[in-house]
Subunit: 463 residues, 2 copies
C-alpha cells in the first residue's frame, strides 16, 4: 500500500510541477484560437471555394492549392507538397432509382408516395448498363441471412442490405462499426450468390432523406456488380413494400466509373523545432472528401484545425522546441494512398516522428483523445489530464489514432485521435449535408484548442 | 493514511454493491429510450402544434393541453393542472428598426447595405410612440462607461449596449453570465441618465443575423423606456457606423405592451411510489417559451425529457419505490410564477420533495449534473458516477439546479440541473432559430436517458 501512496504523491508532485510553467502558454493558446481564430473562416473558404474534393478530382487539386497558399501566407517555416498517385473514381451525373411494382400491384404504394428513390453509387462501384437495370429485390439484414438464402433465391436479384445502426450503443462509431460491413463487402457477398446488383441502407442513425456514400470493395475472383445506397427513410419504405409484395422490382441506373490513377499530393506545413528539430509531431486530417457534400466535418475540419495550431503558435510568437507538422493527407476515403506515402517517405528519410495526431471524427465539441502507444507514454499524457479538463476534455480511455496515421502506427509511432462528441457525426457523414453550415464555430475551435495544447505539451516536454 | 485507505475500500465496496442490482434496470431504461423513445416526436408535436408559447398566450394554453393529454394517454397515475396567474406581455406586430444617417452623411453606409435593422423588443418592454421614435445613439460597453458619460451626454439619446460575450471563457453560460446585465438592467441604467430608449447587442457568441429576446426589467422610481435587441452582425455594423458618424440616429418602432395577468397552469404527471409514495422526486422543465422561435431547446426539450422518463418506466413495467413527478412549470421566462406557485403549494401540502431535477439548458448531449445539496447527498450521487460514465456523463463538479426549482431549493430541497454541452445553446436561445429542426434526436434522448437513470437510482435507493 505504501508504494501506491508514494506513487500517488509522485504523480501529484509531477502534476503540479508540470502545470505551473505551461498554464501561461495554455491560456495564451486558447485565447488566441477563441478570440482571433481563423479555422472557421478557413473551413468556409475550403468548403465554398474547393467544395467536394474526391481524390483525383479538380476540386481536390484546388484544395491542395488552397492549403498550400494558406500555410505559405502564414509564413510557416516550410510548406511543401508530397506527390502521390491516387484512384480516380467518378460518380457521373445520371443516377436514378425507382421502385417498380409488379404488374397489377401498383396499389402497394400509398397514394401520393413517389416511385422515385434517390440513390447514390457507393464509391468504387461500377455503373449499370447505360439504360439502367431492373431486378427483383431480396432484403437481408446480414451476410448470414444471405448465405442461408443461397444462390437459388439470390441469383439474378438485387440484394438489399437493411441492417440499421444499433441505437442501443452509445457512440455512433460503435454503431457504424456494427453496420458498415454491409457497405464495404456487400457487393462481394451478394455477387457470390449470383446477385446482379446491391442496395445498402445508408450508414446513419438518423431517419432522413439523404443517401450516404462511402467506400465499397470488389474481390478479384468475384463478379463486380453495381452497388448503391438509399436513404434510411427509403430503406424503411422499400422494406415495408417488400413485405406487401415480394415481386416488386428495383430499377437503378448509374454511370459511375473508375478512371486511371491520377497524380495528387499530401500538403505539409512545418514549424521547425528550436531545440530538437529532428523530433517531429505530425498533426492533421485528410484533405480529400466524398463528393456529395463539402467535406466540412469529414474532414475539412481536421485539416483546418491542424493549420490553426501552427498559425496560433506563430501568431503568439511561441517557439516550439520540437518540429510541428500540419499534414493534409490525400485519399483517406477511397485508398489511403496519402497516409501510406507519407509513412513510406518518413521511413526512407529516417524521420523521427515522436507523435502523430489525427482529427477525423468531425468538428464537434471534443471530449478526449484516443491513444495507441506504450503504457509509459500514456502515463505521461495522463499527467496532463487536468490541463484539458477545463475545456471539457476528460476521456483518455480509448484506443486508436486515425486511418491516415495507421501506416505510421505500424512503424511504431505513438498515435492519438481527437475524440469529439460523436452523436451528430453520422447525420452528415458522406452525405449532401456535410456542409460548412453544419459546423459550429465554437465546437470547431475547441477541437483546435485541445489539439494545440496537446501538441504544445509534447513539443515542450518531449515524448 | 490508513483511514483514507479504509475509506477508499469502503467506497469501492459500496460502489460495487450499488452497481450490480441496478445495471439491469439502467440498461433497460437506456434501451427503451434509445430504441423506442417518444421524446423527439413529442417535441416535434409540441413545437409544431403549439409553437412559441409565451406566458399568457393562446399557444401557451395549447401547450398545457398537449402535455396534459400526452401524460393522460400514457396512463400516468395522476395528471393534473396547477393554476397560477402569469404576466401577459405581447410583442405586437409592428417592430421596425432603422439606421438614419445625419443629413449629408448618407455615404457612411457602404453601397448595398441596408438601412433597415431587424429589431426585437425585449420581454416586458413598453412600446414606442405609435409612429416610432428616432434619436442619436450613445454606445457603451458597460454601466460604468454609461455613468462616466453622465446625464449630459446620455439625455435624450438611445443607449446602445454592445459588450460582446467573452469568448475566452469555456461554457457559453459563463459568457452569458458576464453579459446579460446589459439586457436585464439596461433600460433602468440608461433611463437613470435620461435616455429615451435603449438597444442591446444580442446575447449570443455567434455573429449572425438573428436578434435574441429575453427578459428586461424596469424599476419603479425610474422612467420606463423602450428597449430592443439587435443581431450581433447589426451590432457590429451600428458600432462601426457610429465610429464614422456620431451624429447618426436610430429609428425604432414597437407596439409591444403588457396586459393584465392571465390564468395559466403548471402541468404535472405522477407515478406513485410503490413503497414510499410520500417521498417525491420532481423532474421537469418550463413549458413557456419566448415568442420568436418554437422553444425547442428552451425548454420544450426539458419538458419532453421529463415526460419520457415516466413513459419509459411505465413501458418497462418498472415500479419506482418513490413517487416521480414530471413537472412542466409555467412562466420561467418572464416571471417564474409557476416555480414559485409549485413550491408554495408543496409547502402548504407539506409534501416531502427528496430531490428536484431541472433540464433547462437545451436538448444537447449531456455531460453532467450540477448539484446544490448537502455534502453527504453529493457523496451518494458520486458513488453512482461509473453508471453514468458510459453515457458520456462525467461532470458532477458544478453547483446549481434550475430557475424553476429555485423556490424549492430555498425550502431546503436538494436540487440538480442537467448539464448538456453548452457550446451551441446561445446560438438558438430566445431567437427565431430555436426550432425543432435544430434539435438532434440522439442528443435529446441522451439527456432523457441520463435523467431517467438518476431518477431511477434515487427512487430505488432513497435520498
Amino acid at each position: 500500500m505504501k508504494k501506491i501512496i508514494a506513487l500517488s504523491l509522485w504523480v501529484i508532485v509531477q502534476h503540479a510541477s508540470a502545470q505551473v510553467p505551461d498554464s501561461d502558454a495554455v491560456k495564451k493558446i486558447s485565447d488566441e484560437i477563441f478570440l482571433n481564430g481563423h479555422c472557421y473562416r478557413n473551413l468556409e473558404f475550403l468548403c465554398k471555394k474547393a467544395g467536394p474534393r474526391l481524390s483525383g478530382s479538380l476540386q481536390a487539386q484546388k484544395a491542395v492549392e488552397i492549403c498550400r497558399n494558406l500555410m505559405a501566407n502564414y509564413g510557416f517555416d516550410t510548406v511543401y507538397l508530397q506527390e502521390v498517385m491516387v484512384p480516380h473514381w467518378e460518380r457521373g451525373k445520371k443516377e436514378r432509382g425507382k421502385i417498380v411494382p409488379a404488374k397489377g400491384e401498383g396499389k402497394i404504394l400509398e397514394k401520393g408516395r413517389k416511385l422515385d428513390v434517390t440513390i447514390c453509387a457507393l464509391g468504387g462501384s461500377i455503373g449499370t448498363p447505360e439504360k439502367g437495370m431492373a431486378a427483383g429485390v431480396v432484403e437481408v439484414k446480414n451476410f448470414e441471412e444471405l448465405k442461408n438464402l443461397g444462390r437459388e433465391k439470390v441469383a439474378g436479384k438485387i440484394v438489399f442490405f437493411n441492417r440499421p445502426f444499433d441505437l442501443a450503443k452509445f457512440t455512433t462509431f460503435e454503431m457504424y462499426g456494427g453496420a458498415v460491413d454491409q457497405r464495404s463487402r456487400g457487393a462481394i457477398e451478394a455477387a457470390r450468390f449470383g446477385a446482379v446488383g446491391a442496395i445498402c441502407r445508408s450508414m446513419t442513425p438518423a431517419i432522413d432523406d439523404f443517401p450516404h456514400t462511402g467506400a465499397m470493395h470488389y474481390e478479384d475472383s468475384i463478379q463486380q456488380i453495381p452497388f448503391c445506397a438509399i436513404s434510411t427513410k427509403d430503406a424503411e419504405l422499400l422494406s415495408a413494400l417488400l413485405k406487401k409484395s415480394s415481386k416488386l422490382k428495383f430499377f437503378m441506373k448509374m454511370n459511375c466509373r473508375t478512371l486511371p490513377d491520377v497524380k495528387s499530393w499530401n500538403v505539409i506545413g512545418e514549424i521547425r523545432g528550436s531545440q530538437f528539430p529532428d523530433e517531429i509531431i505530425a498533426v492533421g486530417g485528410h484533405l480529400d472528401s466524398w463528393d456529395l457534400g463539402e467535406g466540412a466535418h469529414d474532414d475539412g475540419a481536421g485539416c483546418m484545425q491542424a493549420i490553426e495550431i501552427l498559425r496560433c503558435f506563430k501568431a503568439l510568437g511561441l517557439k516550439p522546441k520540437r518540429t510541428i507538422r500540419a499534414v493534409m493527407w490525400m485519399n483517406e476515403e477511397n485508398g489511403l494512398r496519402g497516409g501510406e506515402e507519407y509513412a513510406k517517405r518518413a521511413r526512407q528519410k529516417n524521420e523521427k516522428h515522436i507523435l502523430a495526431i489525427e482529427s477525423d471524427a468531425g468538428g464537434f465539441t471534443p471530449r478526449g483523445f484516443s491513444m495507441t502507444m506504450p503504457e509509459d507514454k500514456k502515463a505521461k499524457i495522463l499527467l496532463w489530464k487536468d490541463i484539458f479538463y477545463p475545456y471539457g476534455v476528460y476521456d483518455f480511455s480509448r484506443k486508436g489514432g486515425g486511418a491516415d496515421i495507421g501506416p505510421l502506427e505500424r512503424q511504431g509511432v505513438p498515435v492519438m485521435g481527437l475524440l469529439p462528441d460523436s452523436q451528430r457525426y453520422f447525420d452528415y457523414h458522406h452525405a449532401a449535408t456535410d456542409i460548412f453550415e453544419n459546423v459550429n464555430k465554437r465546437e470547431l475551435e475547441l477541437g483546435a484548442v485541445t489539439m494545440a495544447i496537446m501538441v504544445w505539451m509534447v513539443a515542450e516536454h518531449g515524448f
